[in-house]
């Protein structure tokens, strides 16, 4: 374990976070929020000072990074980043409690969008901006951004990319890791700005447009109104639907489109399964909730909004689906698990894993009737490596176990089975809202501190896809050998 190199990278990340904090600082000055500006200023200085020793005195002697270093680094970086990210909330007194502030920040960075705030409208502009900006940073991954900006010291940085980016297989777009990270962030940035433009064109105030674009881009879901997006115009809601969908598509496909290679995009099974799931789910919900609204257009809009929002693990809402009939709620419950495509900013199980799981089931059932049959699992015309295939089933097992444990740990809360179960699922999948007490119009404020800590870790586990966090909390990892 190369502890110095891990610290060095974490310090680099801290410096970057300090740079990022300059943006909300600017917002604070813009709206004349001096108390908040001071909070951001203090955090910037403290993170720079904290990062300094690892960058200077403890400079690593060897720059080699192995797989386990990558895992440890990513976990540590995310914990440190969340701790420093929570500081402005505490210092400014807007979220005075440390556990609450940490929950809110982790929820931001992991792009969950679950909130402990009871009245969002009471927050200052700069804090709201920082809250949503954490979505944007966490969506693509902060260490990926570090790699885009700082030249990687060794080729082995692929381990960091793998540990931070979601999906069963993480590949590069171009030979160099730095260029790959750059391309991803440029695509990310351009689409975000496009969304801002569309929202402003639809009459949304500029500040709101930025907040919601940042929230959509990271598929996070922090809003600035108590009723999320219900009060905005249908046009704005459709724009949000479109962009929530776009941000849950594999970013590699955008790159292929830029290169004008449309064939692999059109043949991408994951994309079409995702489209299929969205349309089928939205169709069922539309029919089911039609009597509630009495207007086909409205029913379809609400159905699509909620479906895409949950599928992309964003968590915005245009209507309170707690009040919907049980058929629609059941569909949404299933969607909570699925998530978006691999290689996007969406969380959840990921469609490609779901596809692989189904293919695996089919193969194994066939094997039961033809014990001697030999079959390979294929995806997009390519054989999926046996290691990846078995990795997916193990992943699914870990995923279910973590959800179950989270659910059991918070089950003493007095909010009933439905609320507790969906709270666990929504946090593990980084979606945001659940049913009952944690529905789209409420939050996690009523939960005890213990449950908040458990759910905070559930969010981290879900965002980093379990293994890095589980490995980092194995003390043997940190020993010298």
């Amino acid at each position: 374990m190369n502890r110095r190199m891990v610290l060095y990278r974490v310090a680099q990340m801290l410096f970057l976070e300090a740079a990022m904090l300059v943006l909300p600082l600017g917002v604070a000055f813009l709206y004349g929020e001096m108390k908040q500006a001071l909070a951001f200023g203090i955090t910037i200085v403290v993170s720079l000072v904290a990062g300094l020793p690892a960058m200077t005195v403890l400079k690593p002697t060897s720059k080699l990074i192995f797989a386990k270093d990558g895992f440890a680094l990513v976990t540590l970086a995310w914990l440190v980043m969340s701790a420093f990210g929570a500081a402005p909330f505490v210092i400014s007194g807007e979220i005075p409690n440390v556990v609450d502030a940490f929950f809110e920040t982790v929820s931001g960075f992991t792009t969950t969008g679950s909130t402990i705030l009871t009245d969002v409208t009471a927050m200052s502009h700069s804090m709201l901006f920082w809250r949503s900006f954490t979505h944007w940073i966490g969506g693509m991954g902060v260490l990926v951004l570090v790699m885009a900006l700082v030249p990687p010291e060794s080729g082995r940085s692929i381990h960091i990319l793998r540990a931070e980016m979601a999906g069963p297989v993480v590949g590069k777009l171009v030979p160099k890791i730095k260029d790959t990270a750059k391309i991803l962030y440029i695509i990310y940035f351009v689409i975000t700005i496009t969304e801002v433009g569309f929202l402003i064109a639809g009459g949304m105030p500029v500040f709101d447009a930025f907040i919601h674009s940042l929230g959509t881009a990271g598929t996070g879901g922090f809003g600035i109104k108590g009723d999320s997006l219900s009060s905005y115009s249908p046009y704005c809601q459709w724009v949000i639907i479109a962009f929530m969908f776009i941000f849950s598509i594999n970013f590699n496909l955008f790159y292929l489109m830029i290169l004008r290679r449309f064939k692999p995009v059109l043949k991408n099974l994951e994309l079409w399964v995702f489209v299929g799931i969205v349309f089928v789910a939205a169709g069922i919900i539309s029919v089911n909730i039609y009597p509630l609204y009495g207007d086909a257009g409205e029913a379809i809009r609400h159905a699509f909004f909620q479906t895409v929002s949950i599928c992309s693990t964003t968590g915005y809402s245009s209507a309170d689906f707690n009040l919907w009939p049980s058929m629609a709620k059941s569909v949404i419950f299933v969607l909570l698990f699925l998530g978006g495509c691999a290689g996007s900013t969406a969380g959840g199980l990921k469609i490609s894993r779901v596809i692989l799981l189904f293919k695996l089931v089919r193969r194994d059932i066939r094997k039961m009737s033809h014990p001697r049959s030999v079959a390979t699992v294929k995806l997009d015309g390519k054989t999926v490596e046996p290691a990846v295939v078995s990795g997916v089933s193990t992943y699914f097992a870990v995923y279910m176990i973590v959800i179950a444990i989270t659910f059991l740990l918070i089950s003493f809360e007095p909010f009933g089975f439905e609320s507790n179960l969906t709270a666990a699922i929504t946090c593990c999948n980084n979606v945001g809202p659940g049913f009952g007490e944690v529905g789209p119009m409420n939050g996690f404020a009523a939960y005890s501190y213990f449950s908040k800590i458990v759910l905070t870790f559930a969010m981290l586990l879900g965002r980093l896809e379990f293994y890095p966090v589980l490995l980092a909390f194995n003390p043997r990892m940190w020993l010298k050998k």
Binding site: A67, P152, S154, G155, R156, S157, I158, H159, G171, K172, V174, P175, K176, I177, D179, E385
Partner: protein, 452 residues
């Protein structure tokens, strides 16, 4: 520069490592997923799994945009086909590894022309040439020549009885009156660019540049062997051994080749009528002693196994064979063998990657001052490059003592109209000169890189 490498075997991986280190955008293609995984875990490169002669695979590897395409799979034919396809798809320069003697002897130029291959590399032939160079001057552990052959750089190991140990470099120059320059020294695995008051010690490995005739003169003065090795014993009937034996045979050396496999021996005896082919196990001391290990001038160990090469070479050194050369392919073993007292090691895949890097650097700056030749010295810790000075060279006609060089850089020689000049502070660099530069622990692409 965008580079595509087909084949991620021993050679492919070494080339990949070098090119990534040089900062190129490398995509590597192989049909073994696991090998690719391992390689991309360590090196910052992209991988495509598949057959290199499959157009879709090549397209996925973006061959159409590649400036350099290198095919180094096991199969000559596959390499040729890959290069042909890549060229047709729009790759800039193509390099194929072609090893079989049949292709190399007769049809190579025709093949190159017809398939539009920019360069053919033959690791075995390159290794054989390097060994052959050493056998011409057995006291050196490495000899490299620069363009037109008017300048050489040799590596020597200072043994305990050497006249040079304990001397300051400036005194050596005054004492021997030979025109040469000690340009790089390796001591305890550290490389130094020495100044005039540097004192040489026993065990130092020194690199010196001079004209070939001066080197012979200096060697004589030092009392070192200057005659080429007359009797050469080669262990192992590999392709390298074949090329080496035929090179040596043409030059009048007496070659004895020991090979275990009877069939290989038959083939070799057909193609190498001048050499004595022995069918026996070279790992057995009786065989070696019976065939005259004690009286041979040089012993070259070229079996396929690094470990065997090292062990047999150590055995040969206990029998006081004057020159011992062993082929060691794995880098971790090279260091070990060096510690065990074997100075003269040949690593074919390193030779190949040097040649390829040299080609790539020359491609990179096809304008201005050009890298004409590039060699690695001191086990890869230093580089020596030959640049052609362009007409627009800014520091032209400035005395060298007034030029400000970066650290660890030395001008080791100037070639002007084929006349070698050992530079002193008063010499100048002129346009159309060829400048030989030694650089320790850094890389250079252009002549302007050496100045501050």
């Amino acid at each position: 520069m965008k580079v595509v490498i087909i084949g991620c075997g021993k050679i492919g991986r070494t080339v990949l490592a070098r090119f990534v280190e040089e900062g190129h955008d490398v995509t590597v293609v192989d049909c073994n997923d696991r090998v690719l995984d391992e390689a991309t875990n360590v090196y910052d490169a992209m991988s495509v799994c598949g057959n290199g002669s499959d157009c879709n695979v090549l397209k996925e590897a973006n061959v159409q945009d590649a400036e350099l395409f290198i095919s180094v799979t096991d199969s000559d034919e596959l390499n040729m086909l890959c290069c042909y396809l890549a060229k047709k798809m729009g790759a800039g320069h193509t390099i194929a590894r072609i090893r079989r003697p049949e292709y190399n002897l007769n049809s190579l130029s025709f093949l190159k022309q017809q398939l539009d291959i920019s360069m053919v590399i033959n690791p075995e032939l390159l290794a054989a040439r390097e060994i052959y160079n050493i056998l011409k001057l057995p006291s050196a552990v490495k000899i490299e020549t620069f363009s037109t052959g008017n300048f050489e750089i040799i590596e020597l190991v200072l043994k305990g009885n050497s006249a040079l140990t304990g001397m300051r470099l400036m005194d050596i120059r005054n004492k021997y009156k030979a025109k040469f320059l000690v340009c790089v020294v390796m001591r305890d695995r550290q490389v130094y660019i020495p100044s005039g008051d540097f004192v040489l010690r026993e065990g130092d490995k020194i690199g010196l540049t001079a004209a070939p005739s001066e080197i012979i003169k200096l060697m004589r003065q030092l009392g070192l062997e200057t005659k080429k090795a007359g009797n050469v014993m080669i262990l192992g009937g590999s392709r390298t051994a074949y090329y080496l034996a035929s090179l040596l045979g043409r030059d009048g050396h007496r070659v004895k080749l020991i090979e275990k496999n009877a069939e290989t021996c038959m083939e070799l005896s057909e193609t190498l009528p001048k050499a004595v082919i022995i069918n026996g196990d070279g790992a057995q001391r009786e065989v070696l002693l019976e065939e005259g290990l004690d009286t041979t001038d040089a012993f070259v160990s070229l079996t396929g196994m690094d470990e065997q090469n090292i062990l047999v070479s150590i055995f040969a050194s206990t029998h006081k064979v004057p020159t011992i050369i062993s082929k060691v392919n794995r880098s971790e073993l090279t260091e070990m063998a060096g510690n065990l007292g074997l100075d003269c090691l040949i690593t074919p895949r390193k030779i190949v990657s040097n040649v390829l890097v040299q080609y790539a650097r020359a491609l990179e700056n096809s304008m201005g001052s050009n890298v004409e030749t590039l060699y690695e010295l001191m086990e890869g810790r230093a580089e020596v490059l030959e640049f052609k000075v362009g007409a627009d060279f800014r520091q032209a006609n400035v005395p060298i003592r007034e030029l400000r060089f970066k650290e660890n850089i030395l001008i080791a020689g100037i070639l002007r109209d084929r006349t070698p000049i050992i530079p002193s502070g008063d010499d100048v660099i002129r346009p159309n000169d060829k400048v030989i530069v030694v650089a320790a622990n850094r890389r250079m692409n252009d002549l302007s890189d050496i100045f501050r």
